[in-house]
Symmetry: C2
Subunit: 416 residues, 2 copies
């Protein structure tokens, strides 16, 4: 096999995660060992920085700096929401050719893998030798072929920890609590709330996922039942749940349905998508419980950016695997001279194995939660899901303890 | 001094914190060593549990259980929002008399200290020998006489950590971010966001506190300036800021002012207070930036319950001090036969010393941030505040690292 010499360009795309910089450090430190890599460049703000030719020379980053960056959340090179089309990808390739770039590593989710695929196609058509590797990353956990995606276990750890604390809070001051979790299309991160439970009566008592249609009437009936039985109710709900329009057919985002019902117009972004972030969905979900069930103490939070960028809440398993998929990118491209997407497979209970998948299997697809992970009622997850996620959360998950003391024998003090 | 023998009752009131159970464990384990304490009872859900005589016998809780409960956030005995009046306090005293309770420890904030004060007055008037101790606790940090309050340092650690992660997030994907932090009357917790900064250009770039009147026009001008200069702007704002009604005189909660400006009616709770929780304030603050400044990428989160109940984010200093104020309660009451409120004083840089203050100095008062901690512009904190808070955050604060690599010499690859 001929030794293809040239520059490595690495970039980060999409939403930040707690461990995306582990992948960066893994790829950079490993690529620098290969004589094939004449220089390792980082592009600022993803594909945008490639077009603008704003590169930093990572061959000159110190090992200590990279090791500390690896432990820092959010994309250290900067990221972008750009979703390149064929013409954009052609321009990326032109920059690569101009600077003799022969290796391109893109750390990102669904859209990023599609960019990598298109760039590789253009290079192939022009006969320009280029090795491309998509390094997986997404808190949404929705890349196909992978058992799970780097970034997800740490975000899941945050969500599970948050709900265990909120459950303790609601035990102290009872009421109804609704936590809105990230995930526009898939419920993986919301489902992680279930791992906050320890005792049978712990919350979250109800979990609503985009994988099942959502009905306000069923939601209210569920909460009413749990609240009557437990004296409190903790709900985890995905920002991306879709409302069934009872009797009217069709589905629209719940946020929009609820706001319209309350006489407000939902916010729409530049692409015409209804904005799911912000507190409106949470406020409306709380409001309908207050009004329809007459429960006074109802609180709702939207977890927002905290769940993807909070420092120090990292799964040790996630940190290691994110590092390893970065290292494997260098092995596959610079060592074996292959292209594709690094994927994580599960072996045994629990170990991870890495493979290189064809980009066509990964690109621009969404992996939803399988039926076996969602309960029959569509308002919770199964034991199978808990078994799937548990080993990914890493060491030393906080374990909340209840006070264990007998009732005082009040009667014995009564006179007579 | 005669040895006053009788039962100890301990209870927890108000909002949960990350370390309130350290105080519980400290007081219980220490009180059990005193022969004066014939039995140590815990009341479920604060003063409410005393009235209902729902006590647990903490003399029979194991040391291991108490030690693990100490590391669990939220009030393990349960809490209450009841704010007893004179008649309510008389009924509390009647229960104490009925069960030969001679020591009453109440872990809580401003309202709880006032309850303790009134109960002590009634006991004194009736000549019933009762030692009462208020054990301080509040994430709001607003108890007078104290240098700071147990619970605050851990919540501050959460807020500072959150903003350091959010700053990294905004460096990767630039825009404007607004984080709404707890604190209806005092800005201590919001001010903690400043401790998330490391580099000069780190966020939060703007901090708005209830200690200063808030003007939408100044807020917009501040954000416009920072955004133009840095390409991003991170804002920390207290849920309790008050709007000046420009030219109209008087002040109202900002949440209400903003919502009315947008044609919505703010939610009002059972006591007629405008509800500050929920996402409405954050959404309105983001909306006004989008509309008036024309900045597209604007995000806003309300930190909500996470900041007071998230497990595993605890200041080591806070955990220790919360434990110690609990222990001191037993020493002051059962050992020295005194009553009062345990207070934390600062000595040197940094150590804590504990004293017993008169309940009249503490009860039902709010300690605001002093002028020396707020900057002249009223949109940030001073170095003096950073020096005040820094030692309280405990060991191993996450330290976010920036990538340090030179710009690649792109020109050298150009032909010619």
């Amino acid at each position: 096999m001929s030794r293809l010499k040239g520059k490595v360009v690495i970039a980060q795309g999409g939403g930040p995660t707690a461990v995306i910089n582990q992948s960066l450090a893994g790829a950079v430190l490993e690529a620098r060992k290969f004589p094939e890599a004449t220089r390792v460049w980082g592009a600022r703000h993803g594909v945008r920085g490639i077009l603008a030719e704003t590169f930093v020379d990572l061959s000159e980053a110190t090992t200590h700096n990279l090791e500390r960056v690896a432990q820092t959340p959010s994309a250290a090179l900067g990221s972008t929401r750009d979703k390149p089309d064929a013409e954009y990808c052609q321009r990326l390739l032109n920059v690569f050719k101009k600077h003799d770039v022969r290796y391109f590593f893109y750390i990102g989710g669904n859209d990023s893998s599609d960019t990598v695929r298109i760039v590789a196609e253009h290079a192939s058509q022009e006969g320009y030798e280029l090795r491309v590797i998509h390094i997986p990353k997404t808190v949404d956990n929705d890349l196909p072929v992978n058992d799970h995606c780097p970034g997800y276990p740490s975000a899941a750890r945050f969500v599970a920890s948050a709900f265990s604390g909120i459950n303790a809070d609601l035990m102290a001051l009872p009421g109804v609590y609704i936590g809105v979790v990230m995930g526009r299309h898939a419920g993986w991160l919301t489902a992680a709330a279930a791992l906050g439970r320890r005792h049978d009566d712990d919350g979250p008592h109800l979990i609503y996922l985009p994988e099942r249609p959502f009905s306000i009437e069923r939601y209210l009936a569920d909460i009413e039942r749990v609240h009557r039985q437990r004296g409190r109710c903790v709900v985890a709900i995905s920002e991306g749940v879709w409302a069934t329009l009872d009797g009217k057919g069709g589905e629209i985002p719940l946020a929009a349905e609820l706001m319209r019902g309350a006489g407000r117009e939902p916010q729409v972004d530049a692409h015409g998508n209804i904005q799911l972030s912000g507190g409106a969905l949470a406020d409306e979900l709380a409001d309908v419980v207050r009004k329809r069930l007459g429960i006074k103490r109802v609180r709702a939070d939207t977890f927002g950016y905290l769940q993807r960028s909070f420092p120090g809440v990292v799964s040790s398993v996630d940190a290691r695997e994110a590092r390893e998929v970065g290292e494997k990118a260098a092995h596959y491209a610079c060592g074996r001279h292959t292209s594709g997407s690094v994927v994580i497979k599960r072996v045994g209970d629990y170990a991870a194995r890495y493979e290189l998948a064809d980009l066509n299997e990964i690109a621009a697809q969404t992996r939803h939660m399988p039926d076996v992970f969602v309960n029959a009622e569509g308002n919770g997850v199964t034991e199978a899901f808990r078994g799937y996620l548990r080993p990914l959360l890493g060491d030393d998950m906080p374990c909340l303890e209840r006070l264990w003391a007998p009732a005082a024998s009040v009667g014995s003090d009564l006179p007579g």
